[in-house]
């Protein structure tokens, strides 16, 4: 890795593996906001690790008198098909997300999952709209003489609640697109 060398079975194997690690595991996952391709650092680490182990395998074959091209061919055969290895590595790295997604698909309530953020935002907006009136009624009921104070507090409380609901809606939006 990192140094120029001729193209051979080893380089082809690692290129194919790199491509697999950039791929999406299942298009249905993407529709649900789960992105399985690994980050470039994680990909580079895996490729370095497997490249080093492949080199060790090649060296073992060469010590037995096998010429380098044939030794590389044998080593990559021993490691199995690169796309399959890449897919298994993606599954292993994204296990939590994939398992959660599969659990969701197995449940009869899977279709309600996309509705959760919508219902939460609607609830937050409804509360924010209702809160000023409620605080006004509560203020007058608690202290009729200081009703003017309650009225003055309405914009403040309303503003706070609207701000909270907006930040909550922003969080939910970010989470669903992560």
């Amino acid at each position: 890795m990192g140094q120029a060398r001729r193209s051979g079975p080893l380089e082809e194997y690692l290129s194919s593996l790199a491509l697999s690690l950039e791929g999406q595991l299942d298009p249905a996952l993407e529709a649900n906001g789960i992105y399985t391709p690994l980050g470039c650092v994680a990909r580079a680490a895996l490729l370095e690790q497997i490249g080093a182990d492949l080199e060790a395998a090649v060296r073992d074959h060469m010590l037995q008198g096998v010429p380098r091209p044939l030794a590389e061919q044998r080593a990559v055969e021993q490691f199995g098909p690169a796309p399959l290895l890449g897919r298994d590595l993606l599954v292993a790295r994204r296990r939590d997300a994939v398992e959660a997604w599969q659990r969701g698909r197995d449940s009869i309530w899977w279709w309600t999952e996309p509705l959760v953020p919508v219902v939460t935002v609607c609830g937050a907006v409804f509360l924010a709209a209702l809160a000023p009136a409620l605080s006004l009624v509560a203020g007058i009921a608690a202290e009729p003489q200081l009703g003017t104070l309650a009225v003055a507090l309405v914009p403040l409380v309303g503003g706070i609640l609207v701000g909270v609901s907006e930040s909550l809606a922003g969080d939910i939006d970010l989470r669903s697109h992560r």
Binding site: A45, Q49, A52, D53, A56, A57, Q78, G80, P81, D88
Partner: protein, 132 residues
């Protein structure tokens, strides 16, 4: 020679599904190793039987590492060299998981032998020693 025997018997050399974590934990119990070293050690201990698809080790290593049963560290090779390889060792949790896995697989193998080795002369000494 062992490889020739395997080929002669037409047996598969791939690691059976679900066995890899137990094999990895067991081999790492004897000391740290890198992925290729693990594959070679599993092949050696199995008398050359498990020779195929070494790539299947890496997803298992990823899972065991994320479960905290093993830890991987980058070590330069050759010592002092610029290149690195990832060496794995058992964590304390991994050590206890290795013991549990070994116990489970011994029981499992014994029960399988009891079922399929019933009346098999070759299996009787193994079953007899366990019964005793």
């Amino acid at each position: 020679m062992a490889r020739a025997e395997t080929a002669a018997h037409g047996a598969s050399g791939d690691l059976p599904s679900g066995t890899t974590p137990a094999l990895v934990l067991s081999v790492l119990g004897d000391g740290p190793l890198h992925g290729y070293g693990l594959a070679k050690e599993i092949e050696r201990r199995s008398g050359g039987f498990f020779t195929g698809s070494w790539g299947s080790l890496y997803p298992a290593l990823q899972r065991l590492e994320s479960d905290g049963l093993i830890e991987g560290v980058w070590e330069p090779y050759p010592p002092g060299g610029k290149r690195r390889r990832r060496v794995y060792r058992l964590t304390p949790q991994g050590r206890s998981a290795a013991k549990q896995a070994a116990g489970r697989w011994r029981q499992f193998a014994l029960r399988i032998l009891q079922v399929i080795g019933h009346g098999d002369d070759a299996a009787q000494p193994l079953l007899g020693s366990k019964r005793a």
